[in-house]
């Protein structure tokens, strides 16, 4: 019943799109693709390194979106882009969202775009038919949760810990509370992310929310040289813990329009 959204940094290797296929095979409900940014303020060491590697391989927004052509026919799960505000504004919110839509992306997460600054992007995303998935944090007060719940569409992304992305020994204790607070103000599904490092943690998060994002735990292995086939096993472990099946999850996922 719970969505599993594994993450990959776009352009991290020549065959990076194979990870998308692997994730899908392993039971991903949707996939988050990071468009690497030079200054990933909210990312821990793993995603920083992944971003650096992609950038130094020459990855750009355009090249990453073009790479998707290689797998478009085989991908059935929705793709969500996660990137920083500068890449959005640099191409203008309208232009950027249109490019995403043209590439078959259905959702957008911008971690340094709080609700107060999000209006132009929300408008552009809506026009392009893309879900702007807003983030909430453990420290977000209730009145502000309501504001945020009114922003964008699709999931709400609950940041489970006060900190950057990155693996952690235990899931932030605030995750469950935060998810419950979100659910109290909105019907939108809640994705839990940041530091979901093991199937056990994923299961725990899955009980609190409607889905989990797993990023650093996968990218650490990718950086260490894991092949798509190897990563598929890892993701499958998360899927098993979450008791998701590819088909089921696929039908559930918000923003799925293919």
């Amino acid at each position: 019943m719970t969505a599993l959204v594994p993450y990959v940094t776009g352009g991290i290797s020549a065959d990076w799109t194979d990870y998308l296929l692997a994730y899908q095979e392993a039971g991903a409900t949707a996939i988050e693709i990071g468009l690497p940014f030079s200054d990933p303020m909210l990312d821990g060491v793993t995603i920083q390194q992944a971003s650096d590697r992609a950038l130094s391989r020459g990855a750009t927004v355009v090249s990453i979106l073009q790479d998707l052509d290689r797998v478009r026919g085989r991908l059935r799960v929705p793709l969500i882009v996660m990137t920083y505000a500068n890449l959005v504004f640099h191409r203008t919110p309208e232009g950027f969202c249109r490019e995403l839509a043209d590439a078959g992306i259905s959702g957008l997460i911008v971690p340094d775009l709080p609700v107060d600054e999000a209006k132009p992007v929300a408008r552009a995303a809506a026009e392009a038919g893309i879900d702007l998935i807003p983030l909430v944090a453990p420290v977000t007060p209730d009145d502000r949760l309501e504001q945020i719940a009114a922003l964008g569409s699709g999931y709400i992304y609950a940041v489970s810990v006060m900190g950057t992305t990155g693996e952690r020994a235990t899931l932030g204790s605030s995750a469950a509370g935060l998810a419950a607070r979100v659910k109290a103000v909105t019907d939108r599904p809640v994705l839990i992310g940041f530091g979901v490092s093991s199937p056990e943690q994923a299961a725990e998060a899955g009980r609190a929310g409607d889905g989990v994002v797993v990023a650093s735990a996968l990218m650490r292995r990718v950086l260490d040289g894991a092949t798509p086939a190897e990563i598929r096993e890892t993701v499958a472990g998360f899927a098993a813990a979450l008791e998701v099946s590819a088909d089921y999850a696929y039908a559930e996922v918000s923003g799925d329009r293919r």
């Binding site: 990933p40 500068n86 890449l87 107060d116 600054e117 944090a137 940041v159 900190g163 950057t164």
Partner: protein, 384 residues
């Protein structure tokens, strides 16, 4: 002219500013803005800060007539001597204010980024004085070239954390400091060193640096023709300009040619604010490259972007070799060894004096943002 004068609504300076931070930091930024707004209106807070600035930091700093250079250049050059402030630069003005605020907010820890190390030293100093912990993030490249300041910080009891990512300079140290803040936002105050970052920083830091301009305005007696200061993030210039915003003085900011966000940048969002940014075609932030660690930064505070956009201030660039020569020239003419950062302002004056850019007879107030002790090793390296 409301800019340079009041609190900007929603942290906006025209098209620039704002607050582009993770949701995790929004409440902290809100609380900080509220706390500063309230403290800044509180005579007791102002009195405590003013007392520290006077009895501890050595304010007012003098406005020194640079008599020899003035004669050589055919202008009247007055130097606002932030090099004489405690810890050796203007950074202490901002740091004392924010550290008092942090204590008032019940924070036990200061987190700071630093480039040249002056802001880190000032932060370590205020932390020692007020009994707070301090963690300072500094790029590995800057640690190498500003060894003296690293030693000072550790002597003061601060923890200096080397940052090895990206260009290993100020930009990356700032990323790392913000990450550290997210992880300890309850207990820690992020003591940002310049007029960049999310609201309320650009406003708050400018207000805390306003003392430079207010003093200089009073000390210069008549309104100068030109007010000039170097621009990294832009705090010493913003503080200086604030004292002259409502006069007819031309406001000139001088950037490092290798880190000239105003001159060579385009609008972008970095470190929490929309401003001018050096970036590539894809929107990746460029690595700056300057002999002055404190100006080795691809961004600039949003108020400067606005002042430039509306034409109230102008921004010029000078090259590393002009800067090194300016340090020497000022040292040999006036007996003042300024920081490489500050020497950018001097270099522009040296080049512009007697040209239409800075006509003969001009009266110029130049903020010497810091002293050059920290740069002696770099100068020597450059000379040999």
């Amino acid at each position: 002219m409301s800019t340079l004068m009041t609190e900007p609504a929603a942290g906006r300076f025209g098209d620039f500013g704002g607050r582009f931070v993770p949701e995790s930091l929004v409440p902290a930024c809100d609380a900080l803005a509220a706390a500063f707004r309230e403290a800044w209106a509180d005579p007791a807070f102002r009195a405590e800060l003013d007392e520290l600035l006077v009895v501890y930091a050595g304010r007012p700093t003098p406005l020194t007539p640079a008599r020899n250079l003035s004669a050589d250049l055919g202008i009247e050059l007055l130097l606002k001597r932030e090099d004489l402030a405690h810890t050796g630069s203007h950074k202490i003005n901002n740091v004392l204010g924010q550290a008092l605020l942090a204590r008032r907010m019940g924070k036990g820890r200061l987190i700071a980024e630093t480039g040249a190390g002056q802001h880190g030293v000032a932060t370590a100093t205020a932390a020692a004085l007020l009994g707070l912990e301090a963690t300072v993030y500094m790029g590995e490249r800057d640690i190498e070239r500003q060894q003296l300041n690293v030693l000072r910080m550790t002597t003061l009891g601060a923890e200096v954390v080397p940052v090895g990512s990206g260009s290993r300079t100020l930009k990356d140290a700032t990323n790392e400091a913000m990450r550290a803040w997210v992880s300890d936002v309850d207990r820690a105050h992020f003591l940002l060193g310049s007029v960049g970052g999310p609201h309320p920083y650009p406003w708050m830091v400018r207000e805390l640096q306003r003392v430079i301009g207010v003093e200089a305005r009073r000390q210069s007696r008549t309104v100068p023709d030109v007010v000039v200061a170097c621009v990294g993030g832009g705090s010493n210039s913003a503080g200086t300009f604030a004292g002259f915003a409502d006069t007819s003085a031309r406001l000139v900011g001088v950037e490092a040619a290798g880190g000239a966000a105003m001159t060579n940048g385009s609008p972008g969002v970095v470190h929490g604010a929309r401003s001018m940014v050096l970036q590539d075609a894809d929107g990746q932030v460029a690595e700056a490259e300057s002999v002055a660690a404190g100006l080795d930064y691809p961004g600039i505070g949003p108020e400067h972007a606005h002042l430039g956009a509306i034409g109230r201030a102008e921004y010029h660039t000078v090259k590393d070799d002009e800067v090194v020569e300016a340090v020497r020239r000022l040292a040999r003419s006036e007996g003042i060894i300024c920081a490489l950062e500050s020497a950018h302002a001097v270099a522009w004056v040296l080049r512009a004096a007697g040209t239409p850019e800075l006509p003969t007879g001009s009266r110029v107030v130049l903020t010497l943002s810091g002293r050059g002790d920290k740069d002696m090793a770099t100068l020597l390296g450059g000379a040999s």
